[in-house]
Symmetry: C2
Subunit: 339 residues, 2 copies
């Protein structure tokens, strides 16, 4: 006969409530107690009935997180931050990868898998504002990213334009005038690339520096290899520049490697600034000046807002757009231009 | 009234079978057809009944992947490889992070969430061989990692001892004699650190080089910061060395940064070799010689073996241990010692 909750409680020498708390992964359970319950569950091969449980409470204690690509360090570090934040709130995170593909993203939003979780944190990349009706789903949803604005759900995002303007102003303040960009997307207006390029152009304009299209390095993806390729193309074009703004850190780190292979010194000959403040940026040679876009704040806010929506009965609460604070993290890769 | 499968098929102008194929995320569906079905699903707000579906087929088309930490690049790149491999087989992956904590790992194995997937690929870190009975679960399970050997499930792993011996032999062949290690774990015999340290000692012994405990840098975790701290401690100790073997790439990259801050040249003064072949190792300065432990092969094999178990009715099939092939990837960080 299958073991019951009562059997587990009896073997572990705890109350049924305690067993239930362990199964529901509630925080603040003494580790030794938790271990006794887990040992009893294993000994009896007890399998809680998820459907019964979720019918009772109406909740699973699990939230979903969908990101484009875990092999991009930004999303791996974001996922880690969301998981740590969810843990503090006593909920578990199930992660899915979309590849940034529009059809996959739409499929994910309407997938029956959504019934397995209480809500979803969704970092969109393939969909755009024309698709925002797809976000009108029947479950709590928090949107991340820079692809859809003004949609029907809560949206937690970063100050892309302001932060990119600040990064460019930082280079201009150091006396740099010929600032290359790595990672632009042809024709993109919104999206991370489009918004960050706009911030760059605003900073140039404010400083009276003419925009030179020859300084813009286009890439499709934002991996190190894309940054390296774009920098090789810039160097081959013969265009002169004294600084580079990589639209994310991995692009910038790939570009820095190519600059150094070409015998250019960073920051003396070319100053470099990235965007993301990855862990890696503290250990590269030179260390990378970058924008911290508020990743921890974004993760914490997204989890908090999603849990509020899950707990709320007020369906009329209007969608909110919440912007994280950014800051420039100055390291070795930027310094004043030589006189 | 709730929309039905028939409504979706009618609106999309396709057969019910095609709608079902899209919902089940089968491969080889024409993108335009898939999009029509997804649009119809969105228009009708159709929600397939997962429980009914999984009762019919007995399968969900979803597999789980549990890893210690996505912020460690090795696991992010492994997760990406598993997802890409699963995609080729037409299944979706749900990822969970355990933090490498034993109690969390045991909880995950017995969690009701396991009913949501057809099977689990589990990269253990906190559990050890004494816990192998916890792996006797009622669903298909493939174990990864180096913490549990001889357990009751299929196990896909890497040749840790052989690969670490080869890494050390590579340094010895270049004329290096005083080889520091970064990332050892005090008292560990199995586990990645224990096995790789064993390979290091075997290579020294074969070459007649005495083992010097003063050359071993201990860390708790394997992040860049741990590698940097361990290298600072080695330098502060005054011990002399002409090479460093970092037990993973992130440790080694952290250690390299500290060596260069101290004015030591890599590879001239100190040669460096890592373990993992992360994408980052191709772009660091210098690029990092490392062990490719067969991550892609491990991911592909784990998915294939798990799907075989899910499809198989032969419960008596004995557990298999499958070892991936490794290779040394030579880059700039290793070169012959000066005469």
């Amino acid at each position: 006969m299958a073991a019951t909750l009562h059997d587990v409680a009896r073997i572990a020498g705890v109350s049924i409530k305690t067993v239930s708390n362990v199964i529901n992964d509630y925080p603040h359970i003494r580790p030794t107690t938790k271990q006794r319950v887990l040992d009893a569950i294993a000994e009896l091969d007890y399998r809680p009935n998820l459907s019964a449980r979720s019918l009772r409470s109406g909740r699973t204690g699990v939230i979903g997180l969908a990101v484009p690509e875990l092999s991009l360090s930004y999303f791996a570090e974001l996922a880690d931050a969301v998981i740590r934040s969810a843990e503090r709130h006593g909920v578990t995170v199930l992660i899915e990868q979309t590849g940034g593909d529009r059809a996959r993203e739409i499929e994910l939003l309407t997938s029956p898998r959504r019934q397995l979780t209480d809500g979803l944190i969704f970092s969109a990349l393939g969909m755009d504002s024309d698709d925002s009706e797809y976000l009108r789903v029947g479950y709590p949803l928090v949107l991340l990213g820079e692809r859809i604005f003004g949609g029907p759900t809560d949206h937690v995002t970063m100050r892309n334009v302001d932060a990119a303007r600040a990064a460019t102003e930082h280079l201009i303040a150091l006396g740099r005038r010929r600032i290359a960009v790595i990672g632009a997307h042809e024709g993109e207006v919104i999206g991370s690339a489009g918004l960050r390029l706009r911030g760059y152009r605003e900073a140039l304009e404010a400083a009276g520096i003419p925009f030179d299209p020859a300084l813009i390095g286009y890439t499709t993806l934002w991996h190190r290899s894309n940054g390296a390729d774009a920098m090789r193309a810039l160097l081959a074009s013969g265009v002169e520049f004294d600084a580079v703004f990589g639209l994310n850190d991995t692009l910038t780190l790939g570009a820095m490697r190519v600059l150094q292979e070409a015998g250019l010194r960073i920051p003396k000959d070319v100053a470099a600034i990235g965007f993301d403040d990855l862990d890696e940026a503290q250990y590269s040679l030179p260390t990378l000046t970058t924008i911290d876009p508020g990743r921890e704040e974004i993760a914490e806010t997204a989890v908090r807002v999603l849990l509020e929506r899950i707990a709320s009965t007020d369906l009329a609460l209007p969608p909110r757009e919440i912007l994280a604070d950014f800051r420039i993290v100055e390291r070795e890769s930027t310094a004043p231009a030589a006189a």
